[in-house]
Symmetry: C2
Subunit: 364 residues, 2 copies
């Protein structure tokens, strides 16, 4: 089947290994279950109704998304407990009112200005306070108990807005390859969140947490009620580089045709550029790269024992240095598979998947 799929490929194509994908979900669902915590996967990575539905076999009923566009699509697809894990954008109040009439919608809030704008809600909306345990992107710093208290108190004056608990994305776990550092980030986050849970115990707050590195690497989640990782479903070179997965776990690969061979520079050019991979890069062997080859086999692919790297990208072109490999072994028209650096961004650009069974899966 794999051979047939590759034969039919004419242009850059995103392949999905459903077995790897299901195994990634199974492991994460099992970890949540064993830890006695809920599992609310983030759907921003795959953005597909069909792929989302496969989660149902693992008893997933609650999901996370990062925009109202996604929330609308997944509500239509029958998901009725959705966290929009993005600072609530007060310009989307009409969409919130519309959506919350159809589905249980939870939002993130970290400031009073946003609360004030929510004075006129049509339906009950749950909110989590976004907590910053060191990432420094959004959220109230975990130490700022007074600011947290202000938000909770103020929210109680707002009809139909229910305080549900705390949310934390410890995304600084993405900035280190050191397991010690990641552990420190996790320990601080769980300690901070447990502390908030104690301080505000009378409100019975739930704690939602979950970046892919920590959800993949940690085995204890004290104080956490639900995990919300997203990227783990596919993983990617970035996650393999920081140790959250092995290359074997990466469930998507880009299939790209060879369109040029340049002996003088020992390079090939593929059809596959910034509009396919995205311009996200990762450091491997002290070089910034945009993809790494995988080895095709009869059933799909496996990590390449002698890999090539996607060294640079323009809009449609990708340049691959051949290094010690013989240029003669690569032909114009060959299909080469590449593991992506950041699967969320690659999937977002490609808009559809082809499974190793040859099924086409559209994104929203």
């Amino acid at each position: 089947m794999m051979l047939e799929i590759l034969n039919n490929i004419t242009k850059p194509t995103l392949l999905l290994d459903k077995n790897k994908y299901l195994l990634n979900i199974k492991k994460m669902a099992y970890k949540a279950k064993e830890s006695g915590i809920g599992f609310r996967p983030h759907f921003k990575t795959h953005q597909s109704i069909e792929i989302g539905n496969w989660y149902r076999d693992f008893n997933v009923t609650k999901i996370t998304v990062s925009s109202f566009d996604m929330a609308e699509s997944f509500t239509k697809a029958g998901w009725n407990d959705i966290l929009v894990a993005f600072p609530f954008n007060i310009r989307e109040i009409n969409r919130l009112n519309e959506l919350s009439s159809k589905s249980k919608i939870s939002i993130l809030i970290d400031n009073i200005e946003t609360l004030i704008a929510l004075s006129f809600l049509n339906n009950t909306v749950n909110f989590y306070i976004d907590i910053d345990t060191g990432y420094g992107r959004t959220g109230i710093p975990a130490e700022n108990i007074i600011a947290v208290e202000n938000v909770i108190k103020h929210s109680q004056q707002i009809k139909k807005l229910d305080f549900s608990g705390f949310y934390c994305h410890a995304g600084h776990s993405y900035k280190t390859n050191s397991r010690d550092e990641i552990n420190k980030i996790h320990n601080k986050a769980t300690k901070d969140l447990s502390n908030l849970k104690t301080v505000f115990a009378k409100y019975l707050p739930r704690v939602l947490y979950g970046d892919t590195p920590n959800c993949s690497l940690q085995s204890t989640f004290s104080g956490i009620d639900e995990i919300t990782p997203g990227n783990f479903v596919f993983y990617d070179l970035f996650q393999a580089t920081n140790g959250s997965c092995t290359e074997d776990d990466i469930a998507i690969a880009m299939a790209c045709p060879v369109v040029g061979k340049y002996k003088i520079r020992n390079e090939i050019v593929i059809h596959g550029g910034a509009v396919h991979f995205s311009k996200e890069s990762v450091m491997i062997n002290e070089k910034s790269i945009f993809g790494k080859t995988a080895q095709k086999n009869e059933t799909g692919w496996k990590p390449d024992s002698n890999p090539l790297f996607l060294d640079s990208l323009s809009q449609e072109h990708g340049i691959v240095k051949i290094g010690s490999k013989d240029l003669g072994s690569i032909n114009i028209g060959d299909i080469i598979l590449f593991l992506p650096v950041h699967s969320c961004l690659t999937a977002n650009l490609m808009k559809q998947y082809i499974t190793l069974e040859g099924d086409q899966i559209k994104m929203i």
Copy 2:
């Protein structure tokens, strides 16, 4: 009108200033006309049927695209002389046969392997030999006369494949901010191409050339028959940084809502991330940035005299350091305009434009 448009924006939105766009085309069309050369604009930047149609007022009848996907869309829209300026991908032979039955299609070739695969063409196809004058991405090095001759000779054995001339994208002009360097690149390219034109004069080759920096900055194009720039239609921060345009010429801007304010770090967070801007960055003031604010006014926007920069991006979030500006002057829910680093990639992600007259323009 601008105020009304901004009031209605709920999420990241790509604004298009049609006057700037038309002025950019007008200047380039005028330059081509004055130089006595053809104008075959690249449509990969805007990827829109409607925007493409506006070129017709400038007597544009021939266009350039970078994929067969685009070639198909623009053929359907009535364009019937299309250069696919990408090394021909032999896996797309069926699409080539299909398209060439409807439109005059030209392709790029730089090797014999590709020629061999073109032995069975249904309809006449024109090809240009891709020439490398120093960029080092694709093409036969301009000095390699024997390789060029081989391709021409071999092509004559292939029925329905017509040699039309030489094509060169001197994209190394993007790698320097020095006007002297850009001039050197242009002088070498035009000299190399003129030389090929002389050597192969008996085939009456046409010479196609055109990266936005050189087409914007140069005033003489000796030996060139047609220019094929694309990005100039919108320009962007990259082009402003290398001097191809001023910030005033940039015809698109991203409008993004403010969703977070962080006094402790003097930062704001906008809805606007890697899935909107792309992860292309440019160095300004020795810092890598992803966007730069523009100042709103009643009719659109103008360059910001005291700009802020988009310092980092995740999938949906953008972080802006406020610097000396007062955080109190920015409110949650405000719309901030940003000039994009690379307009081709931003437009490709956004998929639609809103003009300053409030019209929605879809991409293909």
